[in-house]
C-alpha cells in the first residue's frame, strides 16, 4: 500500500504526432509502455508508484485523435477530445445531449479541461483496496479484499461480480452504451471496431483489465451512430458529494416513443458492476408499454432482481431501482 504519493519516479517520455508513430512506440516498448491521455488516472498510478512504466507515450500531440466531426447524422469523436469539448460541443448538445450531460458530470472543471473521453472510458476502477496497492486479483494476486467478510465495500458491486467486486467508475461509458457507440481500436496490426457495450471487460474474462484494449492497442475514436439522435434521454448520477465525486449509481438512458408507448429503449447503469451494465430486464418490461410510474417501478424491480449486495452496499439496490424509475418517468434530466 502506498503511504507516500507525490513524486513520480523517472520515465522516458515520447510525444508522437501521429497514431501510427504512437502504435509503433507501443509495439516497441510492449509491457513497459504506458499510453498517456489526459493524465488524471495515469499520474495517480505513477505518483503512487504502484504502476511503473519505463516509457510513457503521451498522446497529447496527436491532432488526428482530437475533435468532433459530424458523420451521416452521427458523430465521430477523437479519443483525445477533452471532456469539456464533449460537454460543450454544439453537435453533441443538439443531438446527443445524453453524452454532454454525462461528460459534464465528470469530476471538476479542471479535470474536464484536461481529461479526455478516451481516458474517461478506459480509466481504471476506484476500488480502494486495489488503488491502495493491495495485491488483489485485479492486481495479479489471489484474493479480493473488498469481498472479504469484514470488508468495507459500500462503493462496490451489486451485479456481475466475478471474484473482483470493483465497479467501473466512468460517467461517459453508460451514455456511450446507451447511444450504441462504436469504439475504434487500432494497433500496428490494423483496426477493429467494437460496440461500446462490448468494450468493457468482465472480470470473468480478464480480471486485470477494465476494457478489451490489448497492451499494444489504442482507442482512437468513438463513433456515435444516428440511431438515437435527439431521442428522449435521461442521465442521473448519485454520489455522496454533490460535485467532484465518483458515482454510487449512475443511470443513462435513451428512449424512442411512438403513440404514447416506448418503441425502443436502452437503459444503462454504472457504479454497480465491474463494467457498465445494460439493463435488458428493464428494457424488456418497458418496450411496447407507456413510460409511466407503474411500468417504471416494474422495470426498476426487474433490474435489481439479480442484485447481490455486499455487506455495506445494500443501498445500491433501491437506489438503482429508483433511478431506473426516474429514467422511465423522464423527470429531472
Amino acid at each position: 500500500m502506498a503511504v507516500i504519493r507525490d513524486m513520480m519516479p523517472a520515465f522516458e517520455l515520447f510525444r508522437p504526432v501521429s497514431v501510427d508513430d504512437a502504435l509503433q512506440l507501443m509495439a516497441r516498448h510492449g509491457e513497459a509502455a504506458w499510453a498517456l491521455a489526459g493524465g488524471l488516472d495515469t499520474f495517480d498510478w505513477l505518483k503512487d508508484r504502484i504502476k511503473r512504466p519505463e516509457a510513457v507515450i503521451d498522446l497529447g500531440a496527436i491532432s488526428e485523435m482530437r475533435g468532433i466531426t459530424a458523420d451521416r447524422g452521427g458523430l465521430t469523436i477523437g479519443a483525445m477530445t477533452t471532456l469539456t469539448e464533449v460537454a460543450t460541443s454544439p453537435e453533441v448538445v443538439e443531438s446527443f445531449s445524453l453524452l454532454s450531460m454525462a461528460a459534464f458530470h465528470v469530476a471538476t472543471p479542471q479535470i474536464r479541461n484536461q481529461g479526455t473521453i478516451g481516458g474517461n472510458v478506459a480509466q481504471d476502477t476506484r476500488c480502494w483496496y486495489y488503488r491502495g496497492g493491495w495485491p488483489c486479483y485485479r492486481a495479479g494476486g489471489n484474493i479480493c479484499y473488498a469481498a472479504a467478510p469484514k470488508a468495507m465495500n459500500r462503493e462496490h458491486c451489486i451485479l456481475g461480480a466475478k471474484r473482483c467486486v470493483a465497479v467501473n467508475p466512468s460517467d461517459t461509458a453508460p451514455a456511450l452504451i446507451a447511444l450504441d457507440a462504436q469504439m475504434v481500436i487500432r494497433s500496428a496490426g490494423g483496426e477493429r471496431v467494437v460496440a461500446a457495450e462490448d468494450f468493457f471487460m468482465s472480470p470473468a474474462v480478464d480480471i486485470t483489465r477494465m476494457t478489451v484494449l490489448e497492451p499494444d492497442e489504442l482507442l482512437t475514436e468513438i463513433r456515435i451512430p444516428e440511431t438515437w439522435s435527439r431521442a428522449r434521454f435521461y442521465f442521473e448520477k448519485v454520489r455522496d458529494r454533490q460535485s467532484w465525486d465518483f458515482s454510487l449509481v449512475t443511470v443513462a438512458s435513451a428512449m424512442r416513443m411512438s403513440g404514447g408507448r416506448v418503441q425502443d429503449a436502452r437503459i444503462v447503469v454504472n457504479g454497480v458492476a465491474p463494467r457498465p451494465v445494460r439493463v435488458t430486464e428493464a428494457e424488456s418490461v418497458l418496450i411496447g408499454s407507456p413510460a409511466n410510474e407503474s411500468i417504471g417501478l416494474a422495470a426498476g424491480e426487474a433490474a435489481i432482481r439479480r442484485a447481490k449486495p455486499l455487506r455495506h452496499n445494500d443501498f445500491k439496490r433501491p437506489l438503482m431501482r429508483n433511478l431506473i424509475r426516474r429514467a422511465i418517468r423522464g423527470q429531472e434530466a
Binding site: 504519493r5 507525490d6 513524486m7 513520480m8 519516479p9 523517472a10 520515465f11 522516458e12 517520455l13 510525444r15 498517456l36 493524465g39 488524471l40 499520474f43 495517480d44 505518483k47 510513457v56 503521451d58 497529447g60 500531440a61 469539456t84 469530476a107 471538476t108 472543471p109 479542471q110 479535470i111 479541461n113 484536461q114 460535485s243 467532484w244
Partner: protein, 179 residues
C-alpha cells in the same frame, strides 16, 4: 536516471528558458525551476485544485500536467494577475470581502475564477459554485469567495453600482492595495 528537457515556457507573458527533468509536472517546474511559488501544492493528485494555473486561458491542474507538453502554450499564474500595482478586480474583491483566510487555496481559486469571468462576466451564484467545485477551501466555507467573484464580475462588466460602497462595508479607511 533522469532525462532532462530544455524548453521555453511562456509564463505570465514572459519567455522563460528552463531545463527540467522530463517527467516533472508543471507544478514542480513552476515552483522549483521558475521560482514561482505562488502556485501551491495540496495533494499532487488532482484532488484539491490548489495548484490550478491557466494554460491557454483554461484552468488546469498543474500537478497533473507534464511540463514537456507546455512549450508554445501560454501559462498564467497568480503572480501575473495584477497589473503593476493595480490588483486584478478579483484580487481586489477577495480583499474587500475577506474571501481569503489562510490564503493557501487562494491562488488556485483566483485563477479558476479568472477563467470563469473571461468566459462569463455575469455568472450566477450557482454557476460560480460549479466553476469552483474543483478548488477545495477549508477556511471560508466558500461563502465570501462566491460573493467576491460576483462582485468582481460586476467590476469587470463595468457596473458602476457593483457591490456596496467600501465605507458602508468597513466603516474605516481603506488601505492602499498592491503595495
Amino acid at each position: 536516471m533522469d532525462r532532462y528537457t530544455t524548453a521555453t515556457l511562456r509564463v505570465n507573458g514572459q519567455d522563460l528558458q528552463v531545463v527540467f527533468p522530463t517527467h516533472h509536472t508543471l507544478l514542480e517546474v513552476l515552483r522549483e525551476e521558475c521560482g514561482l511559488t505562488g502556485t501551491k501544492h495540496g495533494c499532487e493528485l488532482g484532488e484539491c485544485g490548489t495548484c490550478t494555473v491557466l494554460v491557454d486561458g483554461e484552468p488546469v491542474l498543474s500537478c497533473l500536467a507534464l511540463t514537456a507538453e507546455m512549450e508554445g502554450r501560454s501559462i498564467e499564474t497568480v503572480e501575473g494577475l495584477q497589473d503593476g500595482n493595480e490588483l486584478h478586480p478579483l484580487q481586489a474583491a477577495f480583499a474587500d470581502l475577506g474571501a481569503a483566510q489562510c490564503g493557501y487555496c487562494t491562488p488556485g481559486m483566483l485563477m479558476t475564477a479568472t477563467a470563469l469571468l473571461a468566459e462569463n462576466d455575469d455568472p450566477s451564484a450557482d454557476e460560480i459554485r460549479t466553476a469552483l467545485a474543483g478548488n477545495l477551501c477549508r477556511c471560508t466555507g466558500y461563502h465570501k469567495i462566491i460573493e467576491a467573484v460576483e462582485w468582481a464580475a460586476g467590476v469587470v462588466r463595468g457596473d458602476a453600482g457593483a457591490g456596496p460602497a467600501r465605507e458602508v462595508l468597513f466603516g474605516s479607511s481603506v488601505p492602499g492595495e498592491g503595495s
